[in-house]
Amino acid sequence: MTYVTSLPPAQGDYYFMKEFERTFDSLYEGMQDLSFAGVRRWKELHPGAKSVAFFPVYAPVELVHAAGMLPVLLSGAGDRLDIQHADSRFGSFICSIIKTTMEMAMTRHLEPFDGLLFSSICDSARNLCFVIKRNYPQMYVDFLHLPHSTSDSSVEFLEQEYHRIIIELERLGGAPIQPAALRHSIALYNIQRSLVRKLYELRAQSPHLLRAWESYVLIRSGNFMPVEEHIEILKQALDYLPTRPGKKRDAIRVVIEGAFCEQPPLELIRLLENAGCDVVEDDLAIAQRWFTDDVPLSGDAVHALAESYVHRSVYSSVRHDFSKPRWEGLAEKVRSTRAEAVILLIAKFCEPAYFDFVLFKKKVDEMGLPHLLLEFEEKLFTFDRLRTEVETFVESLVFD
């Protein structure tokens, strides 16, 4: 997937602009492609190299990268795959991403991958890990226990856990992971994450320069290509966007919270904007903004990763730091982006999000902010219901 790298670096010129506008669509196609053509192409270019896919939300991609493998996000099949088998394995009241991921496995869509990595985000995802393990024994399927506590013993434990994963990856790749390589990978992902942070800052400052769906595509597409390529794209975006023509519009500044795992259809994000919302913060690409700060490059690299997770990762409904409640994190987001409203965008049957809604709502009410709860499924074809609710919400804020 080399979209922008083929472009002349000359900034601001017309040709570049036109091309860049087009990249949003091509990037989107790339991340929607269930045949994972990009991954296959990468493997052709790197004979013998492996690819490991990881289920949301967070995964230590640095380890995978340092092993010379391509880490790829498993983000469900959205509305692009009809469920024709998965219901036989997962019953009612289970969220869609679990079923579409199972369906992908049962219809051989996961063949480009040599390994699958799951982590302790919720019970459904955890069970999916072992169901897939039973049905596809030839594949490396692993479960990563990320601590739900922030004591020093948690750091020590996670460090050990990472070492366990490293051994598995080395077995899969057939070569040891060199400390230097790991440090290099960490450095790369530090750059990627800092660029992503910049992009969010830019959008929060001037939403008219970057629509929510565009930044969404720009960032999430990074999960389906080598990090090196993604860094290039982000750099060019950050060069280009400030010069992009576009005028401020009269809209409500909203924070979107809750869609950290299963993803809403792009149409839904567009719908929010068309109804008169400027999305100034969201947790749609939370994994790429996981650390509030760079992972230290000094000292032991594995320790640095573990310690960063436990002490310097962003809050989410599946990552717990009981000394710093998540609803306080949401409050910070709202303040720092001067948001006027919060939209709690929750995937149907997502229990962690359901639970957090109660305390998020409490906090938002205390702050005197209007909020809207929207429930979605990755598989949606008609949007009238949601549109009516969003428009009503906006109308209730703008009509005198």
Partner: protein, 425 residues
């Protein structure tokens, strides 16, 4: 639906169990009154009740409250109260019932429940519990300790896993010493661990009695009534006495050749929690077929002992850690549960497996279709899959459920008859 409920075994142990549990609720009421004894909220699964003994503290089990409410048909009101404050229809109804009770001051016995001295989130495999106890702490203002138990991702826990849990157990001790203002009594703790291993031994023997045909008790429905004392009194002498009596009584029944049903017709293994709001109705659906559960995974949420594990007074902390990590069904991975059920079917000589999907508990239910696939297609074990809920009465469809159960046993009956024909021929 007009069938007479077939009466099942009711022994003196059922009454003893009631008394013990009432006694426990009285202690909780007293604690609410006076603040003594100190109480600790804990999750049933992989509970470390022995640790509490070191402080003379007693456990509070939100799950027990929830199920007591449901069995008494009182769960809907608190569930609705929780939904009013924003909990989703698809949140775990145990949590909703428990939170709803806190808001409305409802308790199963009418007595009061104390504000816990410590909310100890020993979530073993249940991510919902992390939220649940966080909310309890947030609403009661009680201090929260999250004991992070690594999920069992391989066959056995690694040394790193064990060290991690032991370290945290000692951190808990430290925090409780501060909260209670009392030194941790290590000997009493070790004594409690010793009692536990005794109880576990008796309990395991009881479980194995179900290998007899007819089985002297129902290892699903009756086991549940015995589970209360197992979690509250495991680390106490009362526990040892109760389970000794229980074993004795059931052994007598075996000697006398008595079973749950005069003529036991089917032996099944049950997976998943029961529909507590319709506990009796549900049991009668099996009783009308004289189908007895000879084993169940639900009766191992608190601990899995029939395959040999015991707490060990020589290494109290390590064995408590081991119990939390590897010896309860909820922290073991899904495939290990398949294997547990497989052993039940084979060693307890069952005719089939009943999978009861409960919408509240994704830990149990997410993937049970695959479990069914494993048993029917890979092992050729007849398996029935039914859905309802363990706490929310709105998800139990009596007619559908009965229809499925009847159809399942009709087919087993047919299989048996043709089999005997084959033998006769």
């Amino acid at each position: 639906m007009a069938e007479k409920p077939v009466s099942e075994y009711r022994g003196s142990i059922h009454q003893q169990q009631k008394d013990l549990m009432l006694d426990w609720y009285q202690h909780l009421d007293h604690a609410a009154e006076t603040g003594d004894p100190p109480t600790v909220s804990m999750m049933i699964s992989g509970n470390c009740v022995e640790l509490l003994e070191g402080f003379g503290a007693i456990p509070q089990y939100p799950e027990v409250n929830a199920l007591q409410l449901a069995i008494r048909h009182q769960s809907l009101e608190p569930i609705l109260a929780a939904e009013e404050m924003g909990y989703a229809g698809d949140n775990c109804a145990y949590v909703k019932a428990d939170i709803g009770c806190m808001l409305k001051g409802i308790t199963p016995t009418g007595g009061r429940l104390p504000k816990p001295t410590l909310v100890l989130c020993n979530f073993v495999g249940c991510n919902t519990y992390v939220k649940w106890f966080e909310h309890v702490a947030a609403f009661t203002g009680a201090p929260l300790f999250v004991l992070d138990v690594p999920f069992l991702r391989n066959d056995t826990p690694s040394q790193a896993d064990i060290d991690y849990v032991v370290r945290q157990l000692k951190e808990v001790v430290g925090q409780m010493e501060e909260l209670i203002g009392r030194k941790f009594d290590y000997d009493r703790f070790r004594q409690s661990v010793a009692y536990s291993s005794e109880v576990e031994d008796l309990w395991s023997q009881i479980k194995h009695l179900a290998k007899n045909s007819p089985s002297p008790f129902d290892a699903y429905f009756d086991a549940i009534t015995l589970m209360g004392p197992l979690y509250v009194y495991r680390g106490k002498r009362e526990g040892v006495e109760f389970f000794r009596a229980a074993l004795n009584e059931l052994q007598q029944k075996v000697k006398a050749g008595e079973g749950v049903y005069d003529q036991e017709r089917f032996r099944v293994v049950v997976e998943g929690p029961p529909p507590y709001p319709y506990f009796r109705t549900f049991r009668d659906m099996f009783a009308s077929w004289k189908a007895v559960a000879v084993a169940s995974t639900y009766s191992t949420v608190g601990g899995l002992w029939e395959f040999g594990f015991r707490h060990d007074a020589k290494n109290p902390f390590e064995s408590v850690a081991m119990h939390m990590l590897a010896q309860n069904v909820t922290n073991r991975n899904y495939l290990q549960r398949y294997d547990q059920i497989r052993r039940y079917v084979q060693e307890w000589n069952a005719d089939g497996v009943i999978i009861h999907f409960v919408k509240s508990c994704r830990l149990f239910s997410a993937g049970q279709g695959d479990m069914r696939d494993y048993f029917t297609k890979q092992l050729g074990v007849p398996t029935l899959y039914i859905e309802s809920d363990l706490e929310d009465p709105r998800y139990f469809a009596e007619a559908q459920t009965k229809n499925r159960i009847d159809a399942f046993f009709e087919s087993l009956e047919h299989a048996k008859r043709t089999a005997t024909h084959a033998v006769g021929a």
